[in-house]
């Protein structure tokens, strides 16, 4: 069974890579199969690992074992069921209730941590190295980061035309952005090649192929 699985995996890998030559039915088949399997897998795992133990079983236990403490599960379950009402014209308005609940929850849960993690901490991280300038490399790095932060922020300041001093600062900001994009692109190339290496390694380690290859 494992061997069959390996060969199916190998065949699907080749189907996907066949797109590099040109679009073809084998690629389309593998692509659609992937979408279908992913959706089916998500549905199944959500049903078995979440719906059954946290909704079905507690509600069942209210009636079978008299666990009335579990009755609270009915509120989130009802809110979840209301999400499906968007498929009906008559009761479509009911979907607003769970959405309002979710928006309120996420806004409340996110605003303070977002401010803390992405604003305060980043400002602190930019200023902090100036508190311990104990070596030349620290001083240089701190200055480079500070210039980068100021110039890049000013590049995104659109209330004044980018001319004169602001224009010059913006150009420095663009250089920082380009260096950032270059680094990100370099890492992306590395990442994609890593995935290719993973697939080639998988194909070369198939039992039949391995037996033909030099060790």
């Amino acid at each position: 069974m494992t061997l069959i699985g390996l060969w199916i995996g190998a065949a699907l890998t080749l189907c996907i890579y066949s797109f590099l030559y040109k679009d073809n039915p084998f690629f389309k088949f593998a692509e659609h199969l992937f979408v279908g399997v992913s959706a089916g897998y998500l549905l199944t795992i959500t049903f078995h690992d979440n719906f059954m133990p946290y909704i079905y079983e507690p509600i069942k236990s209210i009636f079978t074992d008299g666990k009335y403490g579990e009755i609270q599960i009915i509120i989130p379950t009802a809110l979840g069921l209301m999400m499906f009402m968007q498929f009906t014209h008559k009761y479509g308005w009911m979907v607003r209730l769970p959405f309002a609940f979710m928006m309120g929850y996420y806004a409340g849960a996110s605003i303070a941590p977002n401010m803390q993690a992405d604003i305060y901490e980043q400002i602190r991280g930019t200023a902090m190295p100036f508190g311990s300038l104990d070596s030349v490399s620290v001083i240089v790095n701190a200055i480079i980061i500070l210039i980068g932060v100021i110039c890049t922020l000013l590049y995104f300041f659109f209330s004044k035309e980018h001319k004169g001093i602001l224009g010059g600062i913006s150009k420095v900001g663009i250089i920082y952005l380009m260096i950032g994009f270059g680094a990100a692109f370099g890492y992306t190339v590395m990442s994609r090649i890593s995935l290719l290496i993973g697939r080639i390694d998988f194909l070369l380690n198939l039992p039949l192929i391995r037996s033909f290859l030099p060790q």
Binding site: A112, A184, M190, S191, I193, I197, I200
Partner: protein, 279 residues
């Protein structure tokens, strides 16, 4: 069409073929390319290495099969390091496709070190709504995970007896191919001051460096290179070390292709300029 124009319009499939050859051939050539350990990876290793025996590390397996070649080797390397130090490990999964990958990684590595499930490690399984799960674990792990992956109630698991929330966890290592790192930083790091380290795909690394600079992350294991560095640190060569040797050759070929493409483009521009002057 001149030779330069032909080279400028080279069929992309030829480039794909060159890359494929550059990736396949090095698998059969023994190479001893050195792997230098970068400070972000070293930081993670040193932090785990300094933990006393019996400490608890939580590992988030938040990736699917599509990013396994990059993330699975680093998961195994970190698990081996934890197990070799007698550190207890809690596994969680916030990415549906990672549920079985995590189970395989934890079980297969535990067998190497004779680690026992529920005594030395626990895998809690997959849970939907990651933000609620991360926040919930800050209060009590049993809120989002009343049972582990095998269905055993947390109250009946010996290892979880003295572990209630992030206060009892020394470090969270998130292996991520997407947004989960942001969630951990926002909700476990900023709200509960949980120490965090990240193992991520190469694509994500440059975006996470600001968090490293501020100390919000103690370290980053980035892409296959990071995984190879970690394997080097624990002195156990695995898939990542082999992969990096292949990758080094592939990178040289890509750099040569980029230089070649730019050189042809510049020469073509010059040729067109000269032809324009003549006409």
């Amino acid at each position: 069409m001149s030779k330069l124009e032909k080279l400028n319009n080279i069929d992309r499939r030829i480039i794909y073929l060159i890359i494929a050859i550059a990736v396949i051939v090095p698998f059969f050539i023994p190479m001893g390319l050195p792997i230098y350990v970068s400070p972000p990876v070293k930081n993670v290793h040193e932090y785990i290495d300094a933990l006393p025996s019996g400490s608890v590390v939580m590992i988030g397996f938040n990736f699917g099969p599509s990013t396994m070649p990059e993330l699975y080797p680093m998961c195994v390397a970190v698990l081996r390091h934890c197990y070799s130090k007698n550190i207890k490990v809690i596994g969680v999964c916030l990415h549906s496709e990672g549920a079985t990958i995590a189970d395989n990684a934890m079980r297969s590595t535990a067998e190497e070190y004779d680690y026992k499930e529920h005594e030395d490690y626990v895998y809690l399984g997959f849970k939907v709504q990651p933000v609620a799960v991360i926040l919930g674990m800050g209060e009590d792990i049993a809120i989002p995970f009343p049972n582990d992956y095998t269905g055993t109630p947390l109250s009946k698991i010996p290892m979880m007896k003295n572990i209630k929330n992030y206060n009892d966890i020394e470090l969270v290592v998130d292996f991520s191919s997407g947004l989960s790192t942001d969630w951990w930083i926002l909700y476990a790091g900023a709200k509960y001051h949980q120490k965090l380290a990240v193992g991520c795909t190469g694509v994500m690394v440059s975006g996470l460096y600001p968090y490293l600079n501020t100390g919000q992350l103690i370290g980053i294991i980035g892409g296959l290179k990071g995984a190879a560095e970690y394997e080097n640190l624990i002195e156990q060569e695995g898939k990542a070390t082999l992969g990096m040797k292949v990758q080094s050759i592939a990178h040289v070929v890509i750099i040569l292709i980029v230089i070649f493409g730019n050189a042809v483009y510049i020469l073509l521009l010059r040729q067109k300029r000269r032809e324009g002057v003549k006409n």
